[in-house]
Amino acid sequence: MLPSPGLLFQSVLDGIFLGFLYSLIALGLSLVFGVMGIINFAHGDFIMLGSYLVWILANSLRSDPSLMSIATVPLFFVMGAAIYTAIIRPVLGKEPLIQIAVTVGVGYVLQNLALMMFRAEPRAVQTTYLNFYLNLGLVSVHVAKLISALLSLFIVLGVHYLLTKTWVGLAIRATAYDREVASLMGINVGKVFLLVFSLGIALTGLAASLWMTFGQADPYIGSSFGLLTWVIIALGGLGGVSGLLASSVIVGVIQSLTMTLVSPTVSLAIPYVVFIIVLWFRPQGLFGKG
């Protein structure tokens, strides 16, 4: 039952596309963690929330889910700001266990809110313009995935540009590096935190609308994305965008290859095994600076 080289290549390609989308998801989390030291356990659940929102909007407006990002991104930015002010800021000084616990609570609330409102029925969008495959001889390319991957890459690079080439980005990086010194230098640390957290959540809104071009929403996809994103961050370290992209693609490819070569069941567990091994031997990740 040895797979053909075509299948292998196909699998790797699939993994790469998914990987880029994962990188978009991981970016928000990585920013928040790197700058604020806050662990948002509920990150995946925001994607779930976004997916439902996109479903409602896309179906009622009968248009492609990716266009819904026009609505979801600003909405999620505002929601992020609200959550930061109400929930995150008060626990900034407290012990890490409490900080994590609070975000776990947020995740629980989101999951069960979705369960209450939508029951457990999965929801998929009807009209997607890009849900087809392009046959290129040896491989077939799922266009929706390709577009999502390209858009994700574009955004990730865009954020990288923001971080490195703008004043705002400088302020953010300074705060991440040393928040006390940054505030001494006149940077309003509170505002930076607010911006970063809101941006992180806004990115999940974007990722959700891209996801819905080929995926579907149910109350539990949050956990799948959540843990996977953490694996990516552990692998990629907090070094920079290149590390993030590389580890996202690696995780995507590992998942895809395991699903093809071994079995889909195992593919659920493999990324986590990799995660634990990486944590043991290279806690700074494969690309991090320690």
Partner: protein, 330 residues
Amino acid sequence: MTQVNSRNIFSIVLPSLIVVLAGATIPFLVGFNQYYVLLALQSVIMASIALAWNIIGGYAGQLDLASFAYIGLGGILATMLMIEHNITPWLGMFLGAGVSAALAFIIGFPLFRFGIKGVWYALSTAALVVILHEASIMILGPFDYYIPFVEGWYYIRFRTWENLYYFSLAVLAFIISLNLYISRSKLGYYLKAIREDEVAAEAVGINVRKYKLLALVIYASILGFIGYLYIVSQRTFSYNTFSGPQSVYVAIIGIVGGLGSVSGVFSAALILKIVEEYLRGYLGGVLPGLHLLLFGTLLIVVGILRPEGLSSLTDTLTRKIKVKVLRWYT
């Protein structure tokens, strides 16, 4: 003024004795109504699990999200030994405890040695549950069935729930005593220091890794032991026992109850279980998932406003009771 917190047998054993005696009267009070006995049984089991978690979470301050990895491992081993080889769980539970302890050691030694803590520790434990979940399906196939009925103390399995309940009370008593003992022992002292400030503790010369690992292994072995009790109360032998969400739920109880507070965690476990059952019984189906929604909100509120959770209230209560009892006694 009598010493209320002295480290003698009296203060360690008495509270658990009281809980056991009070608990043992419940079946009689409800006229052996199976519904209440079952509810009491499930509450006691949840309290036991949460109090075991208290050792690693409340005392050592590590957010461990793998409780059901250890419960599942120990429990499934003991159950399999019983089903396939007719080995009594009295032996199986201890084996389960041993295996879970071994797993904890294997996982914990490298984790602590490499200084992994905080969120990375939490994530590793969350990953552990998923890994065991999938591994069990791979090794045993998708097993999810009712355990064939056998009766008697040899199997700790009965038609009605009382005997199992009494057994679980005994286990609870042990765990409460263990918690109280640890909190007043040198181990407890070190763990509290580690939880407060790990770096400072290290600087003062406490072997941080050793004690964290010790706490983890103790916690895992208790859970490995209880595993069979949990599975037999559910009558179901299933890979679903390795549940990530359930493990998170245990941590929530431990936090809402108040980190390190025996009375707080115990109360939280009871209250949350009763509320959950109340909502199921009366509102069931009307608003699915409502109790989890409430618990999530409670967790957020506790985290922001009152990180000591229920403990401040229950600790004061128990202290007042203790003082009264001692005053009356002397």
